[in-house]
């Protein structure tokens, strides 16, 4: 799966499951602020990553992720 496919998949589930507007998803922007994420949302992100990319992660993994780009890169590093 290349980066473009990862971005497309992530953006799709953020819009579908997190009801994010496409305009709010900007690669270099702060993902936590743009999506107003709380601690429960990270649990749901873990579920969505498992469902869409087939690997298990923990909510602690998100501590190193700030922007949407960081998120795409994190997933790319796992499914690369």
């Amino acid at each position: 799966m290349d980066k473009a496919q990862i971005i497309e998949t992530v953006n799709e589930f953020l819009m579908e499951e997190f009801e994010a507007d496409a305009a709010d998803i900007v690669a270099g922007e702060n993902m936590h602020e743009a999506l107003d994420l709380d601690s429960l949302d990270y649990v749901d992100l873990v579920v969505l990553i498992d469902e869409n990319f087939g690997f298990k992660t923990t909510s602690e993994d998100f501590q190193s992720i700030t922007t949407f780009d960081d998120f795409y890169d994190f997933i790319a590093s796992k499914v690369g």
Partner: protein
Amino acid sequence: MNRVVITGRGVYSCLGKNVEEATESLKAGRSGIIFDPIRKEMGFRSALVGNVEIPDLKKEVGRKDRKAMPEEAMYAFVSTKEALANAGMTQEFIDENEVGILFGNDSTAGAVIEGVDLLRAKKDTTLIGSGNIFQSMNSTVTMNLSTIFRLKGVNFTISAACASGSHSIGMGYLLIKMGLQKQVVCGGAQEVNPYAFGSFDGIGTFSTQEDEPSKASKPFDKNRDGLVPSGGGATVILESLESAQARGANILAEVVGYGFSSNGEHISNPNKDGQVRALNMAMEMGGVKPSEVDYINAHATSTPVGDGFEAQAIHHVFGDNGPLVSSTKSMTGHECWMAGASELVYCLAMMENGFVAPNINFKEADEHSEKLNIPNKRVEKELNTIVSNSFGFGGTNSTLIIRKFAH
């Protein structure tokens, strides 16, 4: 002691998605019961159930709130929104006052099983997701609605089997009467998914007269063979008379009595004595004489044993030539945890519109119901005082009495 009045009501049930629709069904004697083939495939003895559609709340409730809501909380959201609007109770008023919430609920089987199935499949608790814990707790309705409507008064769930909804209104009534609360959102909610009713079906409680679903529920009839499960959400807004008058609210009725008791006997079989004690307690509390009661909305679920005991209890308290008695469960089926609340909403509709809903499918009385005055057609009648009975497993009994408001 404060006088306690009802200023708003809402319902979401197999009779309609709001009070107006439900009132039309009650007037017409229209059943909300259907045959659900999925239940048959699952091994149910009876596939009969109330036809309740899960509402789409995407436009009304945000994602963060919605993911914590099982179906019963969604039903209760719809009925509560209607009741608050009916009461003219704005979010601004709620934000500035300590409005409470008490709801009857006694299961979250759908959410529990969904969570356990995910755990078994994924073998990782995180993959159950964040919403399931809030969906699967018995207080799910009050925790969800108190959050969404930003309620700041009393906040807990009452679990008392099929009397849960009635007791929640009774407890709200007492809290306001005693001056501990000024406004309380009261009601009941009931999930309808098959998981909620599988074991209930298994003990042989449900009617198996599946050929004509609308005719299966026949409370008080000699040929009744069991109840039909249903559910939804129902809400009434209770407040002190002082609060209602200060807001300039339209008063729908006054709650004048609440009686409760426990049979202290069998876990599933009712008895006459406990029901009589609840009835008498409510009548004494309200200073209501039997001759003043215009209508009794019976608990009668259409089970052979239960209806017989209630008929005896009503006859014991009201004697021969007693008030009109009907069970709206003939149309709704048994709305279980919410029944006491939904049936009070149905009673309010009858009081407001001057009619007694028919006990449809009542064709032949038995030795006990022949002593009651049970109409199987709608009766046009002014209703000033109404008694509503609710009884549940474990022998829990609740009786509420409402009166047309008079200064």
